[in-house]
């Protein structure tokens, strides 16, 4: 706990709606939470041995690295590793750590962190910059020890209290897989961007989240009371009674998760001029299928299968495990379809098995279908699970990151081979499953007439399409403001996709974040899209929007929108036109339109840290 209980307010970027109150759970740079556990008397010496083993292992690793380094660049460069090895041999440190384990009956991880944090604090106070920076060497060694301690003792979630607010510098999306999501209420991060995958997942899990909060981490400790206000982009440490009273109703509402509008699910999403728009759900976690049904989704337009894989840091999930999940999805959503996107690891979706960190430019690297075609054994297992599960309902296969027709040929050949190799219970082979391609690479848009002929349907992945078209890394805060969904080039591409698909009579679906915003939804309607897949939370609102517009009016809006020169002009035009048509409070979406950098006069200021009150 920090010593004071005075309320402190920090400002950041609210990237996922909702308000949540809870106690802070602080993660380290590897998204590890280091908690103190009290050991039984008879386990203390085992813990000391476990620590000593980790030290020996660390030393052996460093000796090995030193040898490699000597062979590659000469022995004289090995000295920095000597320094690291000497730290592991430093009795003053080692004795201190062991004393903490023995004296406090503490787990080794905690003891290591305690002892080294103190030393690092001392180093940080040195005047000489060179010696001050040795902190990074100490941290390096600490990380190695913790890594070697890990495995035996995974984060113990069971003893943690309910209502946790996860605070960290950065948050790797794969860390969601190891969290107990029943206990986590919100995220507060120092880094991030509104379209990062962490943000997308936070929204899909309906976890309020604020990112790009500067300077709060040193002031927050595990156990502190925090209020995360995703609507306002605020983080409040030790929130006052008055503040909590004021927010009361909203706190209650966010606990319910799905907004009240869900009640309107009985009415269909049909425009005023009678066009039925199919609103579907994007989901990541198997249990989200319930939220999708509650919101009245007509299918799962995009099931991001990565999470089955993230949950398996030691290997690939077996065919059988995947089968169970896909069967459940197919059964639950029937008679509506579920589109399963095959593993889209790589890019910003880092995942241990693919070692994308070894790639200098992962988003241009081995990801999506490219990776699947390189690891055919695992790809085949996933395909087999989908084909088998399709007997339980309606499933579809979506291939991510397609950029050439050859990739589709190769994937389809494999899918057909797998299908013919399967014998279901009755002895028959499963029926073919529709195969679609994600359109998210500009090359796929330009050659869509060829690609579309090879597949049964198309899905537009707007996030990646925008990233690749605009050459903007959406997670890079320096250019995040250039990530403009309303850039004229995006509108041209989206329009072109709809036209080509209509001409070739291929169903096409929007599957990116863009479909969550009613302003964009109107644009899609006007372009001719009739399937929008989105975070289920936004389905009820979007349904209302669909019911209050005509496709004719939407088409006119698109015709005029494409004549503008800048994203800012388009955004302003869109806000004016849509607000006239739709009699709903869209202010939060309007804010999103502005803060996503579409309006240049209102560029987001980098999360300033104001300590108010």
């Amino acid at each position: 706990m920090n010593g004071t209980t005075a309320e402190m307010v920090f400002h950041g970027n609210g990237i996922s709606h909702g308000v949540a109150l809870g106690s802070a759970l602080k993660l380290d740079s590897y998204n590890r939470v280091i908690l103190k556990t009290l050991l039984d008397d008879n386990l203390v010496e085992d813990e000391v041995s476990r620590f000593q083993l980790a030290i020996r292992t660390s030393k052996e690793q460093l000796e090995g690295l030193k040898q490699q380094l000597a062979e590659k660049v000469g022995a004289e460069h090995g000295f920095i590793l000597d320094v690291h090895i000497l730290m592991l041999e430093d009795d003053s440190l080692m004795d201190h750590i062991i004393a903490i384990i023995r004296g406090q009956h503490a787990n080794a991880e905690w003891a290591v962190r305690q002892a080294t944090d103190r030393i690092m604090e001392a180093y940080k106070s040195l005047d000489d910059e060179y010696f001050r920076e040795r902190v990074s060497d100490i941290e390096n060694v600490v990380e190695r020890i913790l890594l070697n301690l890990r495995g035996d003792h995974p984060v113990p979630w069971a003893p943690l209290p309910q209502d946790l607010i996860v605070v960290a510098h950065d948050f790797n999306p794969s860390a969601f897989a190891t969290m107990d999501l029943q206990k986590v209420r919100a995220l507060a991060l120092e880094s991030g961007g509104r379209t990062s995958h962490t943000a997308i997942i936070a929204r899909s899990l309906r976890l309020p989240a604020v990112m790009e909060i500067k300077g709060f981490l040193p002031l927050v400790a595990t156990g502190d009371t925090l209020l995360v206000n995703g609507d306002e982009g605020e983080l409040v440490l030790n929130p006052s009674e008055e503040r909590l009273k004021r927010l009361g109703p909203r706190l209650e509402q966010s606990k319910l998760g799905v907004p009240e509008l869900a009640a309107s699910q009985d009415s269909a999403a049909v425009t005023e001029d009678g066009v039925h728009i199919s609103l579907q759900a994007n989901t990541e976690m198997p249990h989200e299928v319930m939220a999708a049904k509650r919101c009245g989704a007509e299918g799962i337009g995009l099931f991001r299968s990565e999470f089955l894989f993230f949950a398996h840091p030691q290997g690939f999930p077996s065919m059988g495990e995947q089968l169970e999940t896909y069967q459940m999805l197919a059964r639950e959503m029937f008679p509506y379809p579920v589109a399963i996107r095959t593993l889209d690891a790589g890019g910003d979706k880092t995942w241990a098995r693919t070692a994308p960190s070894l790639e200098p430019n992962p988003s241009m690297g081995l990801r999506g279908i490219r990776l699947s075609l390189r690891t055919k054994q695992h790809f085949s297992a996933q395909i087999e699970a989908i084909l088998r599960a399709s007997a339980s309902g309606k499933l579809e296969i979506v291939l991510p990151m397609v950029s050439t027709v050859e990739e589709l040929w190769e994937a389809k050949k494999l899918i057909e081979e797998v299908r013919l190799s399967i014998r279901l219970e009755g002895g028959q082979v499963p029926a073919p499953v529709p195969v679609g391609a994600m359109i998210e690479v500009p090359a796929a848009v330009l050659t869509l007439d060829r690609l579309a002929r090879e597949v049964d349907f198309l899905c537009v992945g707007t996030n990646d399409l925008i990233q690749y078209l605009l050459a903007v890394d959406r997670d890079n805060p320096h250019v995040a403001h250039l990530f403009q969904p309303l850039h004229p080039s995006i509108l041209q591409c989206l329009r072109r996709i709809a036209e080509t698909a209509t001409n070739l009579k291929k169903p096409v679906r929007i599957c990116g974040e863009m479909s969550c915003n009613p302003f964009f939804a109107v644009l899609f309607l006007g372009m001719g899209y009739d399937q929008l897949s989105m975070n289920p939370r936004f389905i009820p609102e979007t349904r209302q929007v669909v019911r209050s517009v005509t496709v004719r009016a939407a088409r006119k809006i698109v015709d005029e929108a494409v004549t503008f020169t800048t994203a800012a002009e388009i955004a302003e035009f869109l806000i004016a036109e849509v607000s006239r048509l739709v009699k709903l409070d869209l202010s939060s979406f309007e804010k999103e339109l502005r803060s996503s950098g579409a309006i240049s006069g209102d560029t987001p200021t980098p999360g300033s840290s104001a300590l108010a009150e």
Binding site: D90, S92, A122
Partner: protein, 91 residues
């Protein structure tokens, strides 16, 4: 007990490479070897890399080395020699 007065003369001071050499050398002797900045009470163990780096001894720093133990004479010569040779870094 032996006490040596030493001035750090190599260009980079007791930086990582020199500190590692000092700790490795000191660890070969059974004697206790402590370093302190001249005029300061706080002494650090010359066998502790974290201690030696914490001294933050740049070029020109005056140090006092205190050695006591069965091989204190040999240790003193060796440690003094290492500083005099500027840690073998400059010819």
């Amino acid at each position: 007990m032996i006490q040596l007065s030493i001035v750090v003369e190599n260009r980079l001071g007791l930086h990582a490479r020199a500190a590692a050499k000092l700790v490795q050398l000191a660890s070969r002797y059974g004697s206790d070897i402590y370093l302190a900045r001249e005029g300061y009470q706080q002494a650090i163990n010359a066998k502790s890399i974290l201690g030696v780096l914490m001294l933050a001894a740049s070029k020109g720093t005056h140090l006092v080395v205190s050695i006591s133990g069965p091989d204190e004479v040999d240790a003193g010569e060796a440690v003094g020699g290492l500083f005099a040779a500027k840690f073998g870094e400059e010819s």
